[in-house]
């Protein structure tokens, strides 16, 4: 296994994160997020590196990482599209919109486009029922979706 190297900037960020918690282990989720955002994946190497930073076992890092659905063991696209499929969105036709998006990107739900630009996932609830149907692309929420609006949004992302 190759050794995982944090960038200098990441190292600084890690020091800032670690300083926030009296118990080092508490910084596990923030560090996993840091890695996920930078690499779009949490690799085994990164988990070992994190385990060393926090003095926990690699098995423990894996257990926490695999508990949460928003950390990924396979590299996701530059834009992570999370489509809410909970009741409000479903009543407002999210299934059709999801299908439309998949067709448009030419992938199945759960897959990544071959140019690694988009990944499409279902998400149980994104807590924005007032805007249903809605989706989240990386950190941005898009509500009141229609097929046309989705096409526009996808085109606006480069």
């Amino acid at each position: 296994m190759q050794e995982y190297k944090f960038t200098e900037e990441q190292e600084k960020e890690i020091s800032r994160i670690l300083a926030k918690y009296p118990v080092k282990t508490s910084a596990l989720l923030p560090l996993l997020t840091l890695v996920q955002r930078a690499d779009r994946v949490v690799s085994p190497e990164a988990m070992v590196a994190i385990s060393k930073k926090l003095d926990v076992s690699p098995a423990y890092v894996q257990s926490v990482m695999s508990f949460y659905t928003m950390y990924h063991t396979e590299k996701v696209g530059k834009y992570m599209i999370l489509f809410c499929i909970n009741i409000s969105c479903q009543l407002n036709g999210c299934d059709k919109l999801l299908e439309h998006t998949a067709r448009k990107l030419n992938i199945k739900v759960g897959e990544t486009t071959s140019d690694e630009k988009f990944t499409l996932h279902r998400e149980e609830c994104l807590a924005a029922c007032t805007e249903a149907p809605m989706m989240r692309v990386n950190d941005t929420y898009y509500g009141n979706l229609t097929e046309q609006r989705i096409d526009q949004i996808l085109e606006s992302l480069d």
Partner: protein, 856 residues
């Protein structure tokens, strides 16, 4: 008991009154009072967890009723506990029923069947008609490591294996994966399990989700015959459960029942998976006679008569003391006793010894000195209640793995402080709040121990006036320690004084202290001085502080203690009664110069294991007649005139005495294999062949004879209940053992810049473990260790072959870089015959200086 006293509370279980210490959980109280409560995820060696939710009971305190999970709920004064009420049963049943939804009912082919907590609980709660359909997971079993199989379809997510791996073993190799319906147990990144292979996870698993792949049969463990015996590897003396089927040992399990052995159901890789030495094609099958360099099979009668004739002739020609014998650290007490009886009484020779004693006769003296100074040391079962444990130059996970388990238990439940003094940065993960690491310069053990004593006196950590009034030569001790100032010690050891001060403070306070000393101190050439310094350290707290102190001499093999107790040494008869016989000079020198005409080696391999192999080889070559009894063909056996095939520990009865003097039963699980005989039978028959049969020849009779010859053994037999022998009260005045002014560790020579450290590998000990397939699978090759900085300087990297050369010999070995091994030293495990690391010593005491170079 720990010095922290716990309040005793009065509680009632189903109307019956009982008392328990404060802090005990309700389930534990029920178990101790034989009240059955359903539960799957509880283990008294682990922290409360409450995963399975099937142990609900009703408690009433001050008239207030509560439904609580008994595995996490501590008792309170006046608590009334009611189990199996209509209400609790309803809850417990519902939870168990859910667990059974996924469980495949493949009991007939499951290793746990019949001894399965899940079955037992299902029966206890009478859950015969499930309301749900079984939904199997149908995932393939995982067999990516050589020993432990994961069949997660049976897993009920109790977390016992994860917690045992973490809290008992400190290995943390396992953890939960994912969540919800897809939750599972696994290693980081699902890589093949690469851990200490203790197998505790298999023992604690309440279903057959984790299985022992070394087992010779699948399924229905309840049908196996169980025999409790004592492990034959290291000197910790764990009780093992040998499971047999149709006269063959199938596997070894641990027994977690109360009061079974000293190990509470903990075992290590060697003890659990090392059963490959029992049924093995490489065992010597018949007595072999060396005829002109070739071994020819002979009958037992022929062999024994030849030996008897030769013995008699040698006595007649050269006198009884020209016959000598080496007793074995792996033979039972009874066998060793018979060997010394044959030589002392029947033949009249006092030339008896054992390898540890030939090398370090001061070990027994050290033990006796401890007794004289009032340190008789507690039973090792109390180690887990210690307040402070000093681990002196021992790599616990390799040397005494199960000792490490007890220490970890103490750190979780009794706040044990850990002080580790070692030249390597040995790995020992625990939950200790105080964990002082004294990583000292290789060979400076004496300075560390001496400085600790000096700090205790100088800083007033002990009551010096009390110590002085009790021990006459206190001033002499102070004088002898004067050179160990903070600066001097730091120069010698490389340790800052505040680390040593912290250790001394924790050690000197009011506490129950245990000191575990590793066999590595013998390699420093200053073993005697180091033990003296440790004795002084313990004596200081024994007289100048409160609490207690326990220290045991380092012992390597399963009966290293017992072989000495049985008088297999020239100085002492059984029970350390002084021997009046001829003491002789150095044992092997005696052989080499022709004084010894006849040598009997019982189950030892000095050529392969003794620290002066060249001397041994010459000695054995010179001895006119050499008998070796052993299970396997060792380098020593190859030099014999006659080899007798003896039996393994699974085939014989008797007792071993562990390092802390617990006399424990060895019980035969199977008949002797092939034509092999236990050494007990060999010695009885040899006496008969000599025409002077022993008057008593059964095991109980011999044990009775031992009790008479060695009164300290009175009441310890037959050893079923792990009783420690206790020395009689000493009438000697306590005294410090003053070391002569030391000539401190020599500077490394330029041509040999490294010091060599060698000891037992985690998966191997002695010469037998190399014949156990499972142990070879997990510990296949000898790998030396070196610090990465040193490796850089030498231009070698992990995986390279290197040559390690001393002034007398060299070995070739694979190398690995690790920060565990300090700079300036190289570590080589000593258990591979193809890497005869004991040859590197040129016959001198002290650290071995070596050089390392890339091979080829």
């Amino acid at each position: 008991m720990s010095t922290v006293e716990k309040k005793i509370l009065n509680v009632k279980i189903n109307g019956e009154e009982t008392t328990v210490p404060e802090g005990t959980v309700v389930l534990e109280v029920c178990k101790q009072n034989n009240v059955e409560v359903s539960n799957l995820c509880y283990n008294r060696k682990l922290k409360p967890f409450a995963a399975c939710r099937t142990c609900m009971v009703e408690t009433v305190v001050d008239g207030k009723k509560e439904l609580v999970y008994s595995c996490t709920h501590p008792v309170a004064e006046g608590m009334e506990i009611r189990t199996a009420t209509e209400e609790t049963d309803r809850y417990n049943k519902a939870c168990l029923e859910m667990l059974l939804v996924e469980h495949p009912l493949d009991c007939p082919i499951c290793d746990k069947s019949g001894v399965c907590p899940l079955q037992d609980n299902t029966d206890l709660l009478q859950l015969y008609d499930g309301r749900f359909e079984t939904q199997r997971r149908n995932e393939p079993s995982i067999k990516t490591n050589p020993i432990i199989e994961f069949y997660l379809n049976r897993c009920i997510m109790c977390g016992l294996c994860v917690r045992a791996c973490d809290e008992i073993q400190g290995a943390k190799a396992l953890d939960f994966h994912k969540r919800g319906m897809s939750v599972g147990i696994g290693t980081a990144n699902d890589e093949p399990l690469d851990c200490e292979f203790c197998g505790q996870c298999i023992t604690v698993c309440p279903t057959g989700a984790l299985m022992d792949m070394t087992s010779g049969a699948r399924g229905l463990a309840a049908m196996f015959t169980e025999t409790h015996s004592t492990c034959n590897f290291c000197s910790w003396g764990c009780t093992v459960k040998l499971e047999t089927k149709k006269g063959e040992v199938i596997r070894i399990e641990a027994d977690e029942n109360y009061n079974v052995g000293i190990n509470e159901g903990n075992l290590c890789a060697k003890g659990r998976f090392g059963h490959g030495i029992i049924h093995n094609e490489q065992r010597i099958e018949n007595p072999l006679m060396n005829v002109g360099g070739d071994f020819q099979e002979v009958t037992w009668d022929e062999a024994l008569n030849t030996i008897a004739d030769r013995m008699q002739a040698t006595v007649n020609r050269s006198g009884p003391d020209s016959l000598a014998a080496i007793g074995s650290e792996k033979l039972t007490n009874e066998e060793n006793y018979l060997l010394q009886k044959l030589f002392r009484e029947t033949l009249g020779s006092n030339q008896l010894n054992n390898l540890a004693n030939i090398r370090a006769p001061y070990l027994n003296q050290f033990m006796l000195n401890c007794f004289d100074n009032g340190i008789s040391s507690k039973p090792i079962t109390q180690l887990q209640e210690a307040d402070v444990v000093l681990v002196f130059n021992s790599d616990l996970p390799s040397e005494y793995p199960v000792g490490g388990n007890s220490v970890r238990f103490g750190t979780v439940f009794n706040n044990t402080d850990i002080l580790i003094a070692n030249p390597r940065r040995v790995v020992f993960d625990s939950e200790a709040k105080v964990d002082v690491r004294m990583t000292f310069k290789h060979g400076s053990d004496l300075a560390v121990a001496s400085r600790l004593a000096k700090i205790m006196i100088d800083n007033g950590l002990i009551d010096a006036s009390k110590a002085k009034s009790s021990i006459a030569n206190f001033d002499e001790l102070v004088q002898s320690l004067s050179s160990y100032t903070a600066d001097n010690t730091e120069k010698l050891t490389g340790l800052p004084d505040d680390v040593l001060t912290r250790a001394a403070e924790r050690f000197a306070r009011d506490a129950d202290r245990f000191v575990l000393v590793g066999n590595d101190i013998l390699d420093t050439g200053q073993g005697e001085e180091i033990l003296n310094a440790l004795l002084n350290l313990c004596t200081l707290v024994n007289f100048g502080s409160t609490g207690s102190v326990s220290i045991y001499p380092p012992r390597e093999h399963c009966n290293s203690q017992g072989v000495n107790d049985m008088g297999l040494e020239p100085e002492f008869l059984p029970g350390y009664q002084p021997s009046k016989g001829e003491k002789g000079r150095d044992f092997f020198e005696n052989c080499k110069d022709g004084t010894t005409k006849f040598l009997y080696i019982a189950g030892e391999d000095p050529v392969g294991s003794f620290y002066r192999p060249q001397l041994v080889t010459e000695a054995l070559r010179t001895v006119p007649f050499l008998i070796v009894t052993d299970v396997y063909m060792t380098e020593t056996a190859k030099m014999a005139d006659l080899i007798l095939p003896s039996s393994t520990y699974a085939e014989k009865d008797g007792t071993y005495t562990n390092m802390s003097r617990h006399v424990q039963a060895v019980t035969s699980a199977i008949l002797p294999q092939g034509t092999s005989k236990p050494d007990f039978d060999i010695l009885i028959e040899l006496a008969e062949a000599l025409g002077k049969p022993f008057q008593k020849s059964t095991l109980p009779e011999i044990q009775q004879e031992i009790e008479e010859a060695a009164p300290v053994y009175k009441g310890t037999f037959p050893g079923k209940d792990s009783k420690q022998w206790v020395p009689p009260k000493s009438d000697k005045k306590p005294e410090f053992k003053i070391n002569p002014a030391s000539n401190d560790a020599e500077a490394a020579q330029e041509s040999f810049p490294f010091t060599l450290q060698t000891n037992n590998h985690m998966f191997h000990i002695g010469s037998y473990s190399q014949h156990a397939k499972a142990l070879v699978d997990i510990g296949p090759e000898c790998i030396a260790e070196i610090h990465p900085e040193d490796a850089k300087g030498l231009g070698v990297a992990s995986g390279d072959q290197v040559v390690i050369e001393s002034s007398s010999s060299k070995v070739q070995v694979k190398i690995k870089t690790t920060r565990v091994t300090s700079q300036g030293m190289v570590y080589v495990p000593k258990n591979w015959p193809e890497v005869p690391v004991n040859n590197l010593r040129n016959g001198e005491e002290g650290l071995v200086q070596v050089k390392v170079s890339k091979s080829g």
